[in-house]
């Protein structure tokens, strides 16, 4: 963005910076607090709950990762979420292409149905989702939670892909058709590569949604060994008498992946926020 004419005088600018820095502090302080606590021994935490650790220790991390099983949960998440993401992308791209570039009688009613179903809270669906997964013998399994995730998160991804495909020139489809390509071939060889930027964007959205998902994992992954990292953290929080520094270390471990993703893909994340909303 280029520098614009400003209606804020030079003197006020200092005040504005002070205000913005206060906001930054307010949004970082709770996170700092957890990170600082995660490096303190239980004794030090009692004496020094807020300032940086005097004698930093990594014991809490070792305890959270091994005894707290965080490592196991992280591995579960690192397997389940990418697999879920692949299914999610396949579903959203194929449905988005159908809505965005194909002509069929039920296009509008079906598209409105998808939009209508985007927002219903997970708890509203939870009973039946649980019944369905147990009926299919998918309780405590990866496929069970992946199906529930994809079903719940794909309407929004489909909406974004639909608007993106709809904006692409129809001539692309026509040209490929004249060359005798099938619809499947047009989608996989022509449209998908062209839609790569938006696919990357919904991939980030989908990744975050699944990585941070709680209600469905809570119901479907009841066996301790199958928990995701987010579920593991939520259950640790409820454990009676678990020390704050250990819980903090667990939280820091769980924060790591989303933060790394953000710093690598910052621009995509930014695009993702605006993709689902109004254009221009």
């Amino acid at each position: 963005m280029r520098r614009k004419a400003s209606s804020i005088g030079a003197g006020w600018r200092v005040l504005v910076h002070v205000f913005l820095i206060a906001l930054v502090v307010a949004s970082i302080l709770p996170l700092y607090n957890v990170i600082a606590a995660s490096f303190k021994s239980a004794d030090e935490f009692v004496m020094n709950p807020f300032l940086p650790p005097q004698s930093p220790t990594a014991d809490n991390y070792a305890y959270a990762a091994i005894s707290g099983r965080l490592l196991r949960y992280a591995v579960n998440s690192l397997v389940l979420v990418p697999l879920g993401l692949l299914v999610y992308l396949a579903v959203c791209i194929s449905a988005g292409y159908a809505f965005g570039k194909m002509r069929f009688r039920l296009r509008l009613p079906l598209f409105l149905l998808v939009l209508f179903l985007t927002i219903f809270p997970q708890l509203l669906l939870a009973t039946q989702v649980f019944k369905l997964t147990s009926l299919l013998h998918l309780t405590n399994t990866g496929p069970g939670v992946i199906l529930a995730w994809v079903a719940y998160f794909s309407p929004f991804g489909t909406y974004i892909m639909t608007t993106y495909f709809a904006d692409m020139p129809y001539e692309l489809v026509e040209a490929a058709r004249l060359d005798g390509a099938s619809q499947f071939r047009i989608l996989t060889r022509v449209m998908t590569p062209l839609a790569a930027p938006m696919i990357a964007t919904i991939a980030i959205i989908g990744f975050q949604s699944m990585w941070n998902e709680l209600p469905f994992s809570l119901l479907i992954l009841q066996d301790q060994g199958s928990r995701t990292i987010t579920l593991g953290i939520a259950m640790m929080r409820g454990e009676f008498g678990l020390r704050v520094p250990i819980l903090s270390a667990a939280v820091v471990i769980a924060m790591a992946v989303p933060l790394v993703i953000f710093f690598i893909f910052q621009r995509r994340v930014t695009l993702g926020v605006t993709a689902g909303a109004i254009k221009g």
Binding site: S27, T127, L132, L214, A234, I278, K279
Partner: protein, 291 residues
Amino acid sequence: MRNRGLERDGIAPYVFLAPLLVLLVAFILYPVIMNLVASFTEWKGYGPMKWIGLANYRSMLADQAFWTSIQNTAILVCYIPLSVAVTVFVSALLREGLRGWQVYRAVLYIPNLLGLVIIGVVFSIYLRDDGPINLTLRWAGGPTLRFLISPWLAINSIAIIKVIWIHLGFGLIYFLAAMNGIDPGVYEAAIIDGAGFFQTLWRVTVPSIRFAIEFWVVFNFIEVFARMFSLIYTLTQGGPGYATFTLEYGIFIQGFAKFRVGYSSAWAMVLFLFCAVISVVQIRLMRRSSV
């Protein structure tokens, strides 16, 4: 969409849509419909369903926890105008091209990355009676604020964390993108006319991003009605008592802790009605901007 004549793509579109539609019917549409049926029955979630007519709805209307949930949702909704004001104001400040505005935008976005479970746990540590805020207050000779113990403070803390603290960074990116679409000439003209910051904000910026603001309000409604569970579950677990219940949390407790699935379905129907209205409003906004 442009009219491309009457030619149709035959069966192919339905094949492309099949995976999505199968999942939606199985995991969303069918659950919503079954929920309506279950709300007229006494049912544990397994075993036989016993038809009891409107009895669940009657008990719900007599249930103090239900009304507390409604009241809490209303409190959350009351923070939405504040969220709009704060977010638009800070976006307008960043729009002025202050040095480092991108850094502010990026750092303020961080809470959005972490997910509600992590944030719930983080604040359960931060807002303890001997957490940083209370230590500071005590050091300054003030009272201890029992954020998670006092019912009134607890629900308001949740509201501030979710509607203001988390959403700010998300809204900044969103509104800055919307403001970026405004013709810079309009701002230059306003400055030449001697308009100050607030005048420009009120006369130029706000009218130009009206659609974005409407969208933002709807987004906030969705979050407040349909996306609060994970935060409440990890921050207060609905407590103290049922002081921080929302409809979502009530459904969870009645259905999955007390196994009164029929009864929890009555709560769910109320939530469904609210969400259906919000969804229709959202679709109207979306259709205005696309398809």
